[in-house]
Symmetry: C3
């Protein structure tokens, strides 16, 4: 994921693995949003099983949903696998932070993130222009991983 | 519809015609969800007229919406008719039951159901894995028909 | 916009520029809905900046969302520009009125409206059939412009 994001001028701020609990994910998201992080990418937890609560946690935190990003991710992914339609990924804005739910598997992360790359810098730029209690946006990226096995601490 | 679903290993549990009333549809959906039925397909009631309340009844019952299924149904259907975009069909999960709103006309049912067929067995399998007050999933299908003229009792 | 809509048999009822304030936009929408206007097209205010509140105002007013129209607008637009995915445009029904959020730029208006044109007359026809406190639908179009510079009073 980082290899795709860094060429756009972002640097990794933090990468954290959070248990599949809605409250814990939402708390971590809120913490990063409060810090004025530009972009948060979560991975995993977007399916239909009991543990899949990342969309709910995300929706709890965002003020504006950007449904078209999730639609574009699914539509692009659907050309490769019908299972793309089961992804409940949410994309939206909390404060000045863009939050994107990515799938759990690295191949899916790459495929869906590539769909969004052309619009991420502009979107982040617009969000930085928002009036804000904090001074100046931090050009960094936070990441919540909701599946333990996919991330290094 | 049954000819499409049965080859996947499902058997018809019940087929019921319900009036176009949100409360009655929701009650029937909840009854089947409470029984642990794997899959509920509704037909009709997804348009924009006053009687079209199936999406509202469905949303009232589900805990997780699966927007990508409805998006894929509409996008696939849109290749055949622009009227696909008026369908307000909802797809989601209530308890361990997958609920799918299908269109009212048999041709539309076939076309949209075919789009979902590749992912239905896997989705139902995942849902059966959910912890549950009931013992063991029933491999059967319920069906609410919201238009009287399209179903036999 | 009018050149595209008029050939369908609509006539312009009113064109008003409203500040980018959710309450003011919603008030104007409600006024036209209360008058039984057939179709309201808003322009602009669907992005992710602070001033972009048209989707929120629209969602506040509508009773039924028609997600497939917005999805089709974005999917069609996406073939021309990836920025289509940032549009948070909402389409739905309030009373007997169809409300469509269009983008702010004239080119985007044309492109997305063209996608919807094939289904607008039928949708409006169905909505006119709805029971209603008012007698007989007015075959006219209102328009909220949320960006001052794009409209003439």
């Amino acid at each position: 994921m980082i290899e795709l994001i860094q060429p756009l001028g972002f640097e990794l701020f933090e990468r954290i693995v959070v248990p599949d609990e809605q409250a814990e994910i939402a708390t971590q998201l809120r913490k990063w949003v409060g810090m004025g992080i530009d972009l948060i990418c979560t991975t995993g937890g977007t399916g239909v099983s009991e543990r899949d609560v990342t969309p709910e946690a995300t929706r709890e935190v965002i003020q504006q949903e950007i449904p078209g990003m999730a639609e574009a991710m699914r539509a692009g992914s659907l050309e490769k696998t019908p299972f793309a339609m089961i992804s409940r990924a949410v994309t939206g804005v909390a404060g000045r932070t863009l939050i994107i739910n990515l799938p759990g598997n690295p191949k899916g992360v790459r495929e869906t993130l590539e769909i969004l790359l052309p619009v991420i810098p502009h979107t982040v730029e617009v969000l930085r222009g928002k009036g804000d209690p904090h001074e100046g946006g931090k050009h960094t990226e936070g990441q919540v991983g909701s599946h333990k096995d996919e991330h290094h601490h």
